[in-house]
């Protein structure tokens, strides 16, 4: 057995490691908080079938929502200075196979040309929020746009990489259902998390994707549709993800950590009690 000094040295060395470890613990800077409005949409995991067909389903009631401001599209011509839809509430769910995203926004009248769209970055290259318009110093990627219009009653799965390149995809993978009631549109978009189509955004559980929103008030004013094409309410990029399944193996490691720390204490205290104090 070691003499008092020797075991004390060992203890001290352990102590030092402890201090270093502890200091690295504190070194984890606190993460940025999500306090200024929403910055992301979380698609919560639920069991069984999704409320994809019914924007009014009570299943949506318990899903927390995010809210995003919208701006009149003044980024490129044709601009518009005043739009109807000022902000949107967004909810999302998935069941490991399919996803559903509900957008809810105020629009005082139901019109044939009312429309809503979700836009996603596709692949690894960042795409500019305005239809993946060309960037000068960065090679950009394409965007995938899910476009719903009241008069057609369905969604169109579209792609763009730059202005005037927007087109409907050969493979249509998106569904949508809209309901207008008392001055509020609720539109649910749904799709499988993943598709076979390289033009589509692929949703992996736990991974963040970029999403942007656009809405058109199709009201007819003086014989003309108020908002159409580039004249719409828009947002820039925000984050979205399908929430991952909880990983329970973490708790095994936590218990191991607890046990090791307790054992360490036990050894030290016993050594000290055996009269090896100085």
């Amino acid at each position: 057995m070691l003499n008092g000094r020797g075991s004390l040295r060992t203890l001290l060395i352990f102590g030092l490691f402890g201090v270093l470890w502890f200091s690295s613990v504190f070194a984890n800077e606190p993460p940025a908080s999500e306090d200024v409005g929403s910055v992301s949409v979380r698609m919560y995991q639920i069991e069984g079938s999704l409320p994809s067909e019914d924007p009014n389903s009570s299943q949506w009631d318990s899903v927390p929502s995010s809210e995003f401001n919208l701006a009149p599209q003044v980024h490129w011509p044709p601009r518009i200075q005043e739009v109807t839809v000022k902000s949107v509430k967004v909810k999302g769910v998935h069941n490991g196979q399919e996803l559903a995203i509900l957008v809810e926004y105020a629009d005082p009248t139901e019109d044939a040309a009312d429309a809503a769209a979700l836009e996603f970055m596709v692949g690894d290259k960042p795409a500019h929020f305005a239809h993946g318009q060309e960037m000068l110093q960065v090679e950009g990627g394409p965007v995938n746009i899910w476009f719903w219009k009241n008069e057609s009653g369905k969604a169109v799965d579209m792609s763009a990489k730059g202005f005037k390149t927007l087109e409907s995809q050969p493979h249509q993978d998106v569904q949508a259902k809209g309901v207008w009631q008392n001055g509020t549109w609720k539109v649910v978009f749904s799709r499988s998390l993943k598709t076979e189509d390289s033009q589509d955004v692929q949703v992996e559980e736990g991974e963040w994707r970029s999403v942007a929103f656009a809405f058109w008030d199709g009201a007819v004013v003086d014989g003309l549709v108020k908002e159409k094409g580039g004249q719409k309410a828009v947002s820039t990029w925000w984050y979205i993800r399908a929430e991952p399944t909880a990983d329970n193996s973490i708790f095994g490691w936590v218990i191991l950590g607890l046990a090791l720390a307790a054992a360490f204490e036990l050894v030290i205290v016993r050594k000290l009690r055996k009269g090896q104090s100085v």
């Binding site: 270093l20 800077e29 200075q81 960042p126 060309e134 110093q137 960065v138 820039t236 990029w237 936590v254």
Partner: protein
């Protein structure tokens, strides 16, 4: 407590106050990780010093070991010892958890707000004289093209501003155009958000690429109107060389 433990604690606390509060008065604040690394080094120094000889070792570690062994302890001492013994494993458990639990937050945005301009824009100066007419014209163009985002009061609070992330620049804030040269603004206005290098995250910027719509003359005059309206003045080349 007194003796080496006490003075060690004082040294540590003093060091922390110095690194965390005094140093930032003269330089940029240190990241927390660096502060704690320095503190850990100071602490190991104290411990090495304290354990150099048998008497100093006893003076430093004796009280700690007696406390941990629990010999002859009563009342508050006993409770404190128990608390330490219980807290330590819990702390380890909590740390294990918070290290392993997958990050729940969206990626952090480390956008560089003023990245370096491309070479061809360095050294340009405004070819138009700062006459009241030119400034007036610039302000008029600003009102027409820029105010929906940057605001009629040059404060970044235009009617379209709330929808954009990052928000339109606030020109009356001394942190924006007052830090910049006219040539820099000329670049930013001409090429817009899409002209930013990768560290400026061009894919997020709603700042239009105005070269597609406005002649260079308009852009130079808008710059004049912008500084005048925001009550700021541009950095000059002389200031840059200081």
């Amino acid at each position: 407590m007194k003796g080496p433990i006490f003075s060690g604690a004082i040294i540590l606390a003093g060091m922390f106050i110095f690194l965390k509060f005094l140093l930032p008065l003269v330089t940029a604040p240190l990241p927390a990780s660096l502060i704690y690394l320095y503190l850990a080094l100071v602490l190991s120094g104290i411990m090495i010093y304290g354990t150099m000889s048998a008497p100093s070792l006893e003076a430093m570690m004796g009280p700690i070991f007696r406390f941990l062994s629990g010999k002859g302890q009563t009342g508050a001492g006993q409770i404190a010892r128990l608390a330490v013994l219980v807290m330590f494993p819990l702390l380890v458990g909590w740390q294990t958890y918070s290290r392993l639990v997958p990050s729940d937050l969206p990626p952090a945005e480390n956008r560089t707000i003023h990245p370096a301009p491309p070479g061809e824009f360095v050294g340009l100066s405004n070819p138009y004289p700062k006459t009241p007419e030119n400034i007036m014209m610039g302000k008029g163009l600003y009102a027409a093209y820029c105010s929906p985002c940057h605001g009629a009061n040059y404060d970044g609070k235009g009617p379209a501003a709330p929808g954009f992330n990052p928000p339109p620049a606030n020109f009356s804030d001394p942190g924006t155009i007052a830090q910049l040269q006219e040539a820099y603004l000329f670049w930013r206005i001409k090429k817009g958000g899409v002209g930013l290098p990768v560290e400026g995250m061009p894919w997020k910027s709603a700042m239009p690429r105005w070269e597609e719509e406005l002649p260079e003359e308009f852009i130079w005059k808008i710059i004049m109107g912008e500084y005048d309206g925001a009550h700021q003045s541009p950095r000059t080349w002389e200031e840059e060389e200081e």
